[in-house]
Amino acid sequence: MLLEIKNLHASIDGKEILRGINLSINEGEIHAIMGPNGSGKSTLSAVLTGNPAFEVTEGEIWFRGKNLLELSPEDRSREGLFLSFQYPVEIPGVSMVNFMRSAVNEHRKYRQEPALSASDFLKLMREKRSVVELDSKLANRSVNEGFSGGEKKRNEIFQMAMLEPKLSILDETDSGLDIDALRIVALGVNKLRTPENSTIVITHYQRLLDYIVPDKVHILYKGRIVKTAGRELVLDLEERGYDWIKQETEE
C-alpha cells in the first residue's frame, strides 16, 4: 500500500477541521476527493504535506511504510509526495532554474545520487517542460512571478514532472483554467502516469475527471469521508449536487 490514513484528526487555531479520515491508496490508483466548500479537502492536502499551520491531534498517516507525520515537509517531498498547490506561491528573485535545480538535486542527494551537471539539468528541464508546453521564457523567470493563473498551474505540473513523485495531490488544479489549459494540464498528468505512481485529485467539478479518470471517488463532508464509490459517483454529483449527501449524512 502506498498511503494509509487512519482516523486522522487535524485542526487550525484550535478549530477541528478533519474529524477522523480513513483512506487507503494503492500503487497506480487515481482517487478523486470531492465535497462542498469548507469540507476539509485543502486541509487534508496541507496536513499530508506537513504545513506547519495545521496541527494533527489524532490518527496516523503511513506513506511507503514510513510514518509520514514524523517527516519534515522536505523529507515528505523526497520520499515521493507532491502537492500541486491550489494557489501556487510567487517567489520574486528566485529563478525557476535555481529553484528546480535545488529541488532536483536535493531529491538526488536523498537517494544518494550525484548532483546533475548543468547541461544534464537543462536537458531535463527542456524535456519536462514539453509535458505541459511550458514556455521557455517562463522557465527563465522568477518562480510564478507574473505568471497567469493558467501558467501557474502548468508550472505546478511541470515541477511534478521534474520530481517524478510516487503520490501527487492535485489540489483544485482545474480552478481558474480555461478549457484548453485544462486539457493541457490533464494530458500532462496522464503522460506522467506509471503503474507505480498514484494521484489524488481534489476538485469540485466533473470536467477535470473527464480527462483524469479516477478509480475511486470519495466525498468529504464536515471533515469525514462520508461516501466512497466508483467513477459513476461523479456523474451523480454533477446531476444532483451535494444536498442528498448532506441529508444522508445528517440521517
Binding site: T49, G50, N51, P52, S72, P73, E74, R76, S77, R78, F82, L83, F85, P88, V89, E90, I91, P92, G93, V94, N98, F99, S102, A103, E106, H107, Y110, S142, Q159, L163
Partner: protein
C-alpha cells in the same frame, strides 16, 4: 573621552604634522578647534539616535602618530580573488598608503597613490579640493579626522582622461593591539573624466579597530564615476565613514556600498547635485548577524534643476543585529524638474533583529518628481513552505529567499565580474561560510 584625544593632540601636534605635507597640516588647527566644540557624536543627537558609539569610544586605542611602519607586505598576506576582474591594485595599510616598487601604468596626468605624497608634490593641484567639502560638516568625526589624518589615498583624473581598467584599493586593518585609524581619501574627476574605483575594507586581525574615514569626491562636468565600497571586517571593527560628493553638470555617479561583515558601521553619505543634468545612483546593502549594527545615513541635496537621484538600500538582518537607514532628500527652491527616488527594503529574519528607518523628503520646488518608500518584513512563510514541499531544506530555502531579496542591489553593480563575485560572497555570507577574512592567503587572521 574627547578630552583624552584633545590632550593627545595638544601633546603630539608636532609629531602628527612632522612627516606630513603642508597641505594636510594647514587644515589641522581649524579642524582641531571645531572638534573641540563639536565633540564625538552621541545618542542624544537625532542623527545618532540608534547608533551608540559610547562603547566603541571607551576602548583605549593606539594611534600610529609616529608613522611606525607595519611589518607586512599586503601582497603577501592578501589576495583578493575576483576571478576575471583585472584591476589596478593599490593598498592602504591602516592609514598608510603602501608604496610599491613598480609603477602601475595609468594614463598620463593621473595621480593615484599616497595622499600625503601627492599633497606635497602637487600641492597647488590638490589644494582647492582637500577638505573643501568636509569642512562644513557638523559631525565631530570629520574635523577629528582632519586633525589627525596623515595619509590615505588620492585619485586624480585630469579632464578628458578615461581610465579603462577599474582601480582597486584594498584597505587593510592590521595590528597587534587595538588601533584607531584616521584614513583620508580624495577622489577628483575633472570634466569628461571617467573612472571606476573598487574599495575593499578588510581587517586582518581581530583586535579592536576604530576606523574614522573621510572621503571627498569631486565629479566634474560630464564626468563619470563608479564607486564600490565593500566592507568585510571582523566583528570587533567599528567603522565610521563620512563621504562627501559634489557633482557638476551632466555628471554620473554610481555608488554601491555593501557591508558584508562588520562590527559597527556608520556611513554618512552626502551627495550634492550642483550642476544641471547630473545623476546619482546610490545603492547599498547590509547583511547583519550576531550583534552587529549597520547605520547608513544619506543626504542627497538637489541644488539645481534637472538632476536625478535614485536610492536603493536593502538590509538583511539575522541574529540580534540592528539596521538603521536614514535618508534625507532635499530639493532646493530652484531645483525644478528634479527626479528623486528613494527605496529602502529590509528583511528581519529573526525575532530579535531590529530595523530603524527614517526617510525624509524636503521639497521646496514645485515641479518635481519625487517618491520614497520603505518596508520592513519577515521571510515569507508561504514561500518557505512552498519550497520545502519541493524537497528544498528549510535552511536552504531561507537562504534562497534572503539571496533573492538582495538580488536587485547586486544588479546595480556595473562591473560584471564583480557582480558575479559579489553574488558568490553574499551567498557564502548567508551560508556562514565566509571566512573571517575571505581574501587572506596567510594565517595572519585570528
Amino acid at each position: 573621552m574627547e578630552k583624552d584625544y584633545i590632550d593627545l593632540y595638544k601633546q603630539h601636534a608636532n609629531s602628527v604634522g612632522k612627516s606630513c605635507s603642508d597641505l594636510l597640516n594647514s587644515k589641522r588647527e581649524a579642524a582641531f578647534e571645531k572638534f573641540q566644540s563639536l565633540g564625538f557624536p552621541n545618542k542624544s543627537m537625532e542623527n545618532y539616535r540608534y547608533c551608540d558609539l559610547q562603547e566603541a569610544f571607551s576602548i583605549d586605542y593606539g594611534l600610529n602618530i609616529n608613522r611606525v611602519k607595519m611589518p607586512i607586505n599586503p601582497h603577501d598576506v592578501f589576495s583578493c580573488d575576483v576571478p576575471n576582474l583585472s584591476t589596478k591594485l593599490f593598498f592602504v595599510v591602516n592609514d598608510h598608503f603602501y608604496k610599491k616598487d613598480k609603477t602601475i601604468g595609468l594614463p598620463e596626468g593621473v595621480l593615484c597613490g599616497s595622499l600625503n605624497d601627492f599633497a606635497a608634490s602637487h600641492a597647488s593641484l590638490l589644494e582647492p579640493y582637500y577638505s573643501r567639502l568636509s569642512e562644513k560638516s557638523s559631525d565631530g568625526m570629520v574635523p577629528f579626522n582632519t586633525t589627525f589624518a596623515q595619509d590615505g589615498f588620492v585619485l586624480y583624473v585630469p579632464a578628458g582622461v578615461v581610465i579603462n581598467k577599474p582601480i582597486q584599493l584594498i584597505q587593510i586593518l592590521h595590528g597587534s593591539e587595538d588601533m584607531m585609524v584616521n584614513r583620508r581619501l580624495l577622489i577628483i574627476l575633472e570634466d569628461n573624466a571617467k573612472a571606476q574605483l573598487l574599495i575593499c575594507d578588510h581587517s586582518l586581525s581581530s583586535k579592536q579597530f576604530l576606523t574614522n574615514q573621510v572621503t571627498e569626491i569631486f565629479v566634474g562636468k560630464n564626468a563619470s564615476l563608479e564607486f564600490y565600497d565593500l566592507e568585510m571586517n571582523h566583528e570587533n571593527s567599528t567603522r565610521i565613514a563620512n563621504t562627501f560628493v559634489t557633482q557638476d553638470a551632466s555628471s554620473h555617479l554610481l555608488m554601491n556600498g555593501i557591508t558584508l561583515q562588520n562590527g559597527l558601521t556608520r556611513n554618512n553619505i552626502t551627495v550634492r547635485l550642483e550642476g544641471e543634468g547630473s545623476e546619482a545612483k546610490l545603492s547599498g546593502m547590509a547583511l547583519g548577524s550576531g550583534s552587529q549594527l549597520i547605520d547608513n545615513n544619506l543626504f542627497v541635496d538637489h541644488a539645481v534643476p534637472h538632476c536625478t537621484s535614485h536610492q536603493l538600500f536593502k538590509y538583511v538582518l539575522d541574529g540580534s543585529s540592528r539596521g538603521v537607514f536614514g535618508g534625507r532628500v532635499l530639493v532646493e527652491k530652484d531645483a525644478q524638474k528634479t527626479s528623486a527616488f528613494q527605496s529602502n527594503k529590509n528583511l528581519c529574519s529573526t525575532r530579535e533583529a531590529r530595523m530603524f528607518v527614517k526617510p525624509q523628503l524636503e521639497i521646496y520646488a514645485d515641479d518635481v518628481k519625487c517618491s520614497h518608500g520603505t518596508a520592513t518584513g519577515q521571510i515569507d512563510e508561504k514561500a518557505l513552505f512552498y519550497m520545502r514541499t519541493r524537497g528544498i531544506p528549510e535552511k536552504e530555502a531561507r537562504l534562497l529567499l534572503k539571496f533573492a531579496f538582495t538580488a536587485d542591489v547586486l544588479d546595480h553593480i556595473g562591473l560584471e565580474p564583480l557582480k558575479d563575485r559579489m553574488r558568490m560572497l553574499v551567498e557564502k555570507r548567508f551560508r556562514g561560510e565566509l571566512a573571517k577574512c575571505a581574501g587572506c592567503s596567510s594565517s595572519n587572521c585570528s
